[in-house]
Point group: C2
Chain length 192, copies 2
DNA sequence: CAAATTTTGTACCCACAGTTCAAGAATTGA
DNA sequence: TCAATTCTTGAACTGTGGGTACAAAATTTG
């Protein structure tokens, strides 16, 4: 019943996510979104209700795509240290390879929207929780395999790795080259 | 000659810094600044020229005050690990004690303004450089004192500590309690 | 084909961001 | 005291942010 949408909502959310990622929430205007999505303002508000609602959908999409990708990487096979190093290296490579240097949308959102946007903050918190959990699981696996000293607190190391990854992606936003970021990875692996 | 200013420019920049810190750059309006500074709009623009110019002055003030404070802390006396732990703990304590949970202005600015604000980005870069240098110097001191393994690359550990501190302050913006942040500190000290 | 729904894009709206300006007030020097 | 100078205040201005209203058009169901 009724006329079907002329555009793919998923593709539209994807485009919106790209814009929010590049410009941040406050600096993104409805006009930016209309331009990027290639639909009229009326369609945009009819389909998504508000700028903020669209932002939330963009965050969810980010979580299910980008944020999940890191976790998947960590759950592959191979030596624990190798997997961790590879994952962090890929992160740095992607960040520095991005001409817009957008870093991580979750990190940027935490910085910009914490305390004023409960929905966004909660989504970001959950993403951080999951990432920390994946790091912790990896460390526990490393301990079982004898790659990581069993005496250390796997949960604490998981938190530490989360902080490092978050710091890495924030630093990537202003980094002039790969050197500092590479050093972070080296020292991180070396400290396990 | 001429009518003297009715307000203290330093105090005004301090107030502006507090507002930018709490709300971010884009979300801070001239009206917010006028309210916080207690002066008229005309005076504001007469004294500082533009919102952006005032933001730069606020960042410089942050660098000379807040950012320098951490570096000073690291240069005190005592065991290297104790100093590092104390400094990180103080950071977490301040962040969680702040009712607005503003985190670090340099970190927030990197997230919000990188790639669109060269002056701000450059200021933030320099702050990160200095902090990294202070961490590195601390590690080198620890190596001379036999507190830190001499075989490890002090520069890399310095970078790693910078990433950790940055991540810590970003996480503080969305943290629900001190647990995760405390674990980060424990694992960090434990890894030296 | 008719009826019912939904989409679309344009036009429109109000508030406010960011800035400028004119008029007046305080100061110093002559 | 006048002139020159620098500051203050608040009104005014321009552009845009974020969103709504609407009429026309497009599809689906029956």
């Amino acid at each position: 019943m009724g006329r079907p949408k002329q555009f793919d909502p998923d593709a539209a959310v994807e485009q919106a996510m790209q814009v929010f990622w590049r410009k941040g929430y406050a600096a993104t205007t409805p006009q930016d979104l209309v331009d990027a999505l290639g639909i009229g303002k009326g369609s945009l508000y009819n389909a998504f209700g508000s700028k903020h609602a669209l932002f939330e959908r963009a965050l969810v999409r980010y979580r299910d795509g980008q944020a999940q990708a890191l976790i998947d990487l960590l759950e592959q096979s191979g030596s624990v240290k190798d997997r961790l190093r590879d994952a962090l290296r890929l992160l740095v490579e992607l960040d520095l390879g991005d001409p817009d240097r957008r870093g991580c949308l979750a990190v940027n959102t935490a910085a910009e929207r914490a305390m004023t946007d409960e929905a966004a903050t909660e989504l970001v918190r959950r993403m951080f929780d999951r990432t920390e959990g994946a790091f912790r699981a990896l460390i526990e696996e490393g301990q079982r395999a004898g790659e990581v000293a069993s005496g250390r607190d796997a949960r604490a190391i998981g938190s530490q790795l989360l902080a490092t990854a978050v710091g890495l992606r924030l630093l990537a936003r202003v980094a002039e080259g790969p050197d500092r970021l590479s050093r972070v990875i080296d020292a991180t692996i070396d400290s396990l």
